[in-house]
Amino acid sequence: MSVDFDNGAIKSVSLIREVRAPCLHERLSFQRRLKVTIFRSVRMAAEQKATTEEVKMDLFEDDDEFEEFEINQEDWVENEEQVKEVGLQWEDDWDDDDVSDDFSHQLRKELETISADKK
């Protein structure tokens, strides 16, 4: 499988979708091997483009560069409450036995048609 350097990363991943590896496990390790190729291809695509006409500077950017904190000031005062509050924004007990939602209802209907088929 060749990696398309034009928009390399995005096209490569689309190819994963199309390659119907028979086993998910195979697909996953294939993806892991491809991960390095994907990042390398983006890099190479960037370098290739840099030496030609219009440079797509976004490939050199790190979208998520952390903003600088002010240097000439003391560290901000920490509020115990705030620190705790941030920790409470997560749920770890969401995996319940509740099947009263829409999705579960539709799933149930779908499964019931199987048993109906059998009768």
Binding site: I38, E61, E67, N79
Partner: protein, 413 residues
Amino acid sequence: MAYVSMGEAHRRITEYLNRFCGAVSYQDSPMLCRLLSFSSNSPSLLSLADALNVFQDASILIRQSDKFSEYGEILAHLFRSLQSYRFGNLVEAYLAFEKFANAFVQEFRNWESAWALEALYVVCYEIRILAEKADKELTSNGKSPEKLKAAGSLLMKVFGVLAGKGPKRVGALYVTCQLFKTYFKLGTVNLCRSVIRSIETARIFDYEEFPRRDKVTYMYYTGRLEVFNENFPAADTKLSYALQHCNPKRERNIRMILKYLIPVKLSLGIIPKDELLQKYNLHEYMNVVQALRKGDLRLLRHALQEHEDRFLRSGVYLVLEKLELQVYQRLMKKIYIIQKLSDPARAHQLKLEVIAKALRWLEIDMDLDEVECIMTILIYKNLVKGYLAHKSKVVVLSKQDPFPKLNGKPVGS
């Protein structure tokens, strides 16, 4: 550029020289910072640049007084850089600033106390920013960008200067973070390794001594590296630290931390509350979270497709795609619960046929062999407890806890 008379130019330059030398003599770090912050585009620096342009050869003024000529080399390069900066010759500005920085660091070494640490931070910041601008200029002229890489080398040198026993060592983490920003921008993140090793293992450094703001930045970047290397527990620790201790007013930074922390938490079976996603405008994760909650594989695939570009750019795409196994687990659990409602005696037997039907409903086409393969993986990764009765094409679930929770541990650990 405003008209400046020779006399006025003379006055401005002399005033700057006096301020600079005064700042050094009186160890006035905040003043020195202001005098070096090109990127602040302060009116006084810009008007100094205009004055330098008129005066042409400021070195005459520098040589005039012993007080000034002591810092002659530093000031000459600084002035040249400022002039180039003002004219928009960013490559020239960078080159001169690099020379200034080298000279400044030599001087800094000789100052025993750490009084000028913040000024040194400004120099590190400015050189990185100038290098980025210089590289943009180079590439727009069809040349190869190399200044940011050079700035990286200089920053490493500064790191070396601070990696000693004295009070200056608390500055090392700030410089480390500038290096991280440089390497991430260049895409050479492997270079982060050596400086991380120094910070974390060198005996001269006591991590607790570093200022909190630098620790937050450090944890953000090292956390991102852990995500890239798929060490989710380590990524969780680091990014959570950054989140808890980041200045709460800096919402853009908090959003960035969450952008990487959320996929990590999801991989550990922990879900962000909707309010969190809303507050920090992280809508791209909403459907992913919903898919996991419900066991909706189709929704997961849709969510990945919809934001493919964004996830690829931040490098979390594969992390999110791997959540598929957890979504499978949730779906199997739902099928099990539904079966229990109508036929509790046989609920712990999941026919592969039934699973295949559910998958087809979610637009996933698999034959029974493929379904068997998935179930084998789920069992292998301890997402499902049970065994495969191959001949009867049934998954026999354990009567106890057939769908073990992750409990904060990544899949298959």
